[in-house]
């Protein structure tokens, strides 16, 4: 075993894990917020995330086709992408709630869950249909923006690219904004009240339906932003791209304590780091006996261990507030 190599790549793996973790955290928020308010899992959230990624790539390809991609600063382009992706996904999330979940509000818990799975399949194939007609393509590629690919050499073995910095910065910014909205504004208080007790909240004059829509709006926007960042970071997307990250983010939400916002962030980071370290180190530590393909088994085994000792998730009990 090459110890110096293990130490040398440590910071880079840490960085990879943090980026992946923030991506999971942003998606996990959509699951956890909806669960906090309605106590059901919105399985269509992985497609809401992917729609953000597709909006991003469509704008980029549109700009590129008109030769305008290089005319703007990549940061401005990225900002436009993020805003458009957030708006599109947020709108979609609200529509899905209105069409597929609200009519089932009084039904037993499993019914909207099935509806969510149905919406998920519907959206996957709707995107596929649209892209096959519109571009006759299955895989779409984010055009390369050179300035975002510049790399800073921190030490001999650690490099960070501009786009990785952008991912971390935008994730942090959005998590901070969400924290402010939920905890410092009247609307946030109303959402928390609805999460606590819908009947009482409505007696206090809170419009429950509007607050639920707002929850989907915020969760969808976070998902859309994550979609754009995912596309920028990993470049290739297809209509089924959302499935695995969606599943991981859902896991992250459970790990952090479902219904708990700081928990979702923490769960995302823990899962991202576990995955990155497992993938990078398993083969080095076992002399090639176990390779990167076992990263999920490793990550999920640790997850099970954590949940055995803390069944409500990392932060499930400590923080009472839900949103």
């Amino acid at each position: 075993m090459d110890t110096s190599l293990l130490i040398a790549i440590f910071p880079q793996v840490l960085l990879d894990g943090i980026i992946l973790g923030f991506m999971y955290a942003l998606i996990a928020l959509g699951y956890t917020m909806v669960y906090g308010v309605l106590e059901f899992i919105n399985f269509a959230h992985s497609e809401i995330f992917v729609v953000g990624a597709f909006i991003g790539v469509e704008i980029l390809l549109g700009l590129q086709a008109r030769g305008m991609l290089d005319a703007f600063s990549p940061f401005l382009v990225l900002l436009i992408l993020l805003l458009a992706g957030m708006a599109g996904s947020a709108l979609l999330a609200v529509t899905v709630e209105r069409v597929a979940y609200r009519p089932l509000r009084g039904a037993p818990r499993l019914i909207p869950l099935i509806s969510a799975i149905g919406v998920s399949f519907f959206l996957q194939d709707a995107i596929r249909l649209f892209e096959s007609i519109w571009r006759n393509a299955f895989n779409l590629v984010y055009p390369t923006m050179d300035q975002l690919n510049l790399r800073f050499q921190l030490t001999e073995n650690i490099e960070i690219s501009v786009k990785s910095l952008v991912v971390i910065a935008s994730a942090l910014l959005m998590l901070w904004a969400l924290h402010l909205i939920v905890n410092r504004t009247k609307v946030g208080k109303a959402i928390r009240a609805v999460a606590e007790d819908q009947a009482t909240a409505s007696l206090m004059g809170i419009n429950v339906n509007r607050m639920i829509s707002l929850t989907f709006l915020i969760g969808g926007a976070m998902g859309g932003a994550a979609g754009v960042l995912f596309g920028v970071q990993y470049s290739l997307i297809n209509p089924y791209t959302g499935f695995i990250p969606g599943l991981k983010a859902f896991t992250a939400a459970v790990l952090g304590g479902i219904g708990n916002i700081p928990g979702a962030m923490m769960g995302g980071l823990v899962l991202g780091l576990l995955e990155a370290f497992a993938a990078s180190y398993l083969s080095l530590l076992t002399g090639g006996a176990f390779g990167a393909e076992y990263k999920d088994i490793f990550a999920f085994s640790i997850l099970i261990l954590i949940l055995i000792f803390r069944p409500k998730g990392l932060l499930g009990e400590v923080v009472r507030e839900r949103a």
Binding site: Q12, D16, N139, V141, L236, G291, A292
Partner: protein, 399 residues
């Protein structure tokens, strides 16, 4: 209510009779319909390849069905979508053998789908002609119904390793996609590379499709001279692209799964200089395939993907064999077994060269090519630089 149900019955009988009539009338006109099925992914990430197989086959049927039609049969193509998934391929295969009109299958794209599906064809004695499956196990099971037009991965892996050696590569890092095809060809590359004295510093599989960071980080730290990816372009593309963007300067290489113009679309300028081996030569290398390329482009408005020409030849051989089998059966619909026997006897001069099969169904001399990506423009994929071209006989059957 009762009255109405009595009235309805003769109505139904009449409707059924009217439906049956034209079918009976049609059957009287010709001796019957002979169908050729294709199985390849028509949806999903590898649809570009799979559609090439379908269209190549379609073109062959349109151009070459004459002799069979003269014998009094209609010839039809039935395309199936195997979605590049073994379970879908097998389910389709069961439907295919149930359709008695189907006498030959052209397919598949993926060895991992072709192998289990061919076990089903075997039960129906249905011949499969493979345009694109390179895994040795496709023919090494010695099934009398399986024949293939393209080369084999054990040879392809060796060709790749020999070329890597000629690039003076000392260390290689091998990644594969864990499929029958990808892992298979990666193992052949690894074993041959080791034999030639190249140090293989890692051999790893991954099913990851988007985030390759955790694989790239240790890879970069090991500073290999060459990175080999055994798999398909839709996974190799993002992997190689992310590796380049993270500053990996090693030479990049892969097998025929990378031979798709979409790789250039995914990788952009990071793809220029990438090496790949393939068992499907670029169409421009075959003098007899020029008309095929032109007609294909005019008809389908795109250049033929790799293995479209092979699918054309596979179908041509199938048609010839059907013709011979009809004649042997005295002008009647031939048995499936006799079509399979005729295919193995083929001596055919196709657009990809002369085709004859050995005792286990491999092409007696298959072409192997090494190419280098020349441009970031997907439209110029056909102009990739040919570095080496060889014709190699398959290894004999291991008994």
């Amino acid at each position: 209510m009762r009255q109405s149900s009595i009235w309805r019955k003769p109505g139904i009988a009449l409707a059924v009779a009217m439906l049956l009539l034209p079918a009976a009338a049609l059957a009287g006109e010709a001796k019957g319909t002979i169908k050729i099925a294709t199985q390849s992914p028509l949806s999903g990430g590898q649809a570009a390849f799979g559609e090439g197989i379908k269209l190549g086959s379609q073109l062959a049927i349109e151009q070459l069905k004459g002799p069979v039609e003269k014998l009094g049969f209609k010839v039809e193509l039935v395309p199936y979508d195997d979605q590049a998934k073994p379970d879908v391929g097998v389910a389709n295969a069961k439907n295919i053998i149930a359709d008695k009109d189907i006498l030959v299958v052209i397919g598949h794209l993926n060895s991992g789908v072709a192998i289990p599906s061919s076990e089903v064809y075997k039960d129906g004695q249905l011949a499969m002609v493979s345009p694109a499956n390179t895994n040795p196990k496709v023919t090494d099971r010695n099934l009398s119904i399986v024949s293939r037009i393209c080369g084999r991965d054990d040879v392809q892996g060796e060709v790749g390793a020999v070329f890597a050696k000629s690039l003076k590569v000392k260390t290689a890092y091998v990644i594969h996609d864990k499929t029958t095809y990808g892992q298979g060809v990666a193992e052949f590359f690894r074993d041959n590379a080791k034999k030639l004295g190249i140090e293989v510093v890692a051999f790893e599989g991954t099913e990851e499709k988007s985030n390759f960071d955790p694989i790239i980080t240790p890879m970069k730290a090991k500073k290999p001279d060459l990175v080999y990816f055994g798999g398909m372009y839709d996974q190799a593309g993002p992997f190689f692209k992310q590796a380049r963007e993270k500053g990996v300067t090693a030479k990049l290489m892969g097998p025929d799964g990378l031979d798709a113009s979409e790789l250039a679309k995914i990788m952009g300028k990071t793809g220029v200089g990438l090496y790949y081996t393939t068992a499907a030569g670029p169409v421009k290398l075959y003098p007899k395939a020029q008309d095929f390329a032109k007609t294909y482009k005019a008809k389908f408005n795109k250049d033929p993907e790799p293995y479209a020409a092979e699918a054309y030849d596979s179908t041509a051989i199938a048609l010839k064999a059907i013709e011979a089998a009809i004649k042997a059966a005295g002008g009647k619909v031939p048995a499936r077994e006799s079509v399979a026997v005729q295919i193995r006897k083929s001596k055919y001069s196709g657009i990809t060269g002369n085709i004859e099969f050995d005792e286990k169904g491999d092409r007696k001399k298959a072409g192997y090519f090494i190419l280098e990506v020349a441009s970031e423009d997907p439209g110029k994929w056909g102009d990739n630089k040919l570095l080496k071209r060889e014709e190699i006989a398959p290894p004999p059957l291991q008994k």
